[in-house]
Symmetry: C2
DNA sequence: ATGAAAGCGCTAACAG
DNA sequence: CTGTTAGCGCTTTCAT
């Protein structure tokens, strides 16, 4: 039913080779034949079959994106950027929501390999390093240590942590707590909390880190936050490792009657365009989304083309002021 | 470098057919050979090539998702649900962010066809109906009229509009405006505004619909909302056709010193889990996400299997109360 | 400037 | 229970 290259050849009265040549704009063709072939293609409403094309040696131009879930606006934003950039570069995106689940992630990896993707960009890591080592595919990680050989793209987490902590200190906070997802694994994002601890120590303040858990239910997070705030009225600053948590803190604080920023100052992390648009009041550390997306893909294509990247410098972040930190920020 | 089925056959000392049989668990095999083949597969770290498999007649198990952008939490949520459900059903997801751009959408359609996807789920429609008619692929639309032949899955927009409008009226609002994306095209979602108009008329109130534009910049939307509110202090109720807009109204209203819900009552639309978690104060009409996802995919697989669906009834929606509508909603 | 032929990795009759 | 033989639709030497 669907017209094939051979059909086109037949209609145009040329060989399949010739049709292939005009499709790929390859070798030398007379204008005459070109015209004939194009006409035939149009007539048959011909569409090339990428499967066949790839089977016979061409790249699939398929890239797998493994992220926790696009239901999280942060990843949604990032994935959207990546997909756009990939599309512009002629790649198609296979979406994989790992849900931070090891089995699913393993299954995705297998599936992507089976589908002959040209490369993978990932930001989950529930699998052992060895499992990643044995993947014979170009992989680039976002803010994750997957394996020593896998390039990492990230923004400057230490710097971001510093800026956030300094901002709270310089606004007069003396009891600053930091809320993180999970404190354990040695991930790049933990540099944020390392910087926070360093800054507080420099100012002779005591760091206090509370982990909320990455997959924890929001209602539970809320409760933890509320309890934390209630039990310790001396807390006057909160640094959250992501903006959504900061939102929770803001809401709970206001419900408890704490004035923000008078009694309590809050700063988040990520600074997505979404947050900027719908929660401009939130002070945050802004990651350079577009730059990250570009670099992620530049790195991946470099890997695909067999040009493994040199070490990648983390991209600069930036403080975005907001009402949760200072009253005069316009 | 990558082991093929033939390699496995050679190592196992059987024919390719036999290997194919054990892979597909097809026909009858002796335990002995099965074991041999599995051993060989393991030894060679064999992974089947889906391209080849599909080329020789099998389905690709690939589904294309065309949505405006997963950077919008609403679509992010929906796409996440769809991807999860698809994965569970053995399908892989190709993500397409159309950005409501006709050229891109056309390119995506062509690309998906070239990649032999089994089907498409879409929620954009910048293309003419005829362009969709000529797609020889199973398509299901979410809340969109693409072509008479293309099944539409949606929740009950008219009912949702009714519930929202009734809620505002019964809370005593007398001057209720409705904010929509765009009022023109005859889409299913316009039933919301039809219902709104009907309800207001029944109560001898005057409907007033303000379009904000789907792709309009948020800052512009903000300005429009602020101006609207400022210019007409008699407005005491706002019905927004999506939750994000409702958020904007809430923020602008409070900045203008309008007390919500005392002076102004607000109700949104969509009710994503994200909104529920991070903005529980917002009253809204909740769409049944999971059910929509399930139905979308059930419908698509039905189309793929050549069982075109009967007419689909819209799924029921539900009022989710919140502080923006009534003070006592816990 | 154009064609013939072999083959990418797998599946699917059709034998035996 | 297992193997032989043709392709699927396209690309790519190698000829002409």
């Amino acid at each position: 039913m669907m017209a094939t290259l051979n059909d086109v050849a037949a209609v145009a009265g040329v060989s399949p080779t010739t049709v292939s040549r005009v499709i790929n704009n390859y070798g030398s063709l007379s204008e005459k034949t070109k015209t004939k072939v194009f006409a035939a293609m149009r007539e048959l409403n011909y569409a090339p079959n990428n499967l066949a094309r790839s089977l016979s040696g061409k790249k699939t131009q398929l890239v797998g994106l493994i992220f926790p879930s696009v239901s999280n606006p942060f990843f949604g934003e990032l994935v959207a950027t990546l997909e756009n950039t990939l599309f512009a570069a002629g790649y198609k995106t296979i979406l994989c929501n790992s849900a931070n689940n090891a089995d699913k992630e393993r299954a995705y990896l297998r599936m992507l390999a089976a589908n002959q993707v040209d490369g993978i960009i990932t930001s989950t890591h529930n699998l052992g390093i060895t499992e990643y080592q044995k993947i014979a595919l170009p992989i680039v990680a976002f803010d994750r240590n997957l394996a020593p050989t896998i390039p990492i793209v990230s923004s400057d987490n230490y710097q971001g942590g510093r800026i956030a902590a300094e901002a709270l200190v310089s606004q007069g906070c003396r009891h600053i707590v930091m809320l993180v997802s999970s404190a354990e694994t040695p991930e790049p994002t933990n540099d944020r909390q390392r910087a926070y601890a360093d800054v507080l120590q420099q100012h002779h303040l005591t760091p206090q880190v509370t982990p909320l858990g990455f997959t924890t239910d929001v209602s539970v997070k809320r409760l933890t936050i509320r309890t934390l705030l209630q039990d310790d009225p001396t807390i006057d600053g909160v640094f959250c490792s992501d903006d959504l948590t900061a939102l929770l803190v803001l809401e709970e604080a206001e419900q408890l009657g704490r004035k923000v920023p008078a009694d309590l100052k809050i700063i988040g992390y990520d600074g997505t365009p979404f947050m900027q648009a719908y929660h401009p009041e939130l002070a945050t550390i802004q990651q350079p989304f577009n730059a990250l997306g570009q670099l992620l893909i530049a790195t991946l294509t470099a890997c695909i083309d067999g040009r493994p990247p040199k070490v990648l410098a983390p991209l600069p972040v930036q403080l975005r002021p907001g009402r949760t930190l200072t009253l005069d920020w316009a």
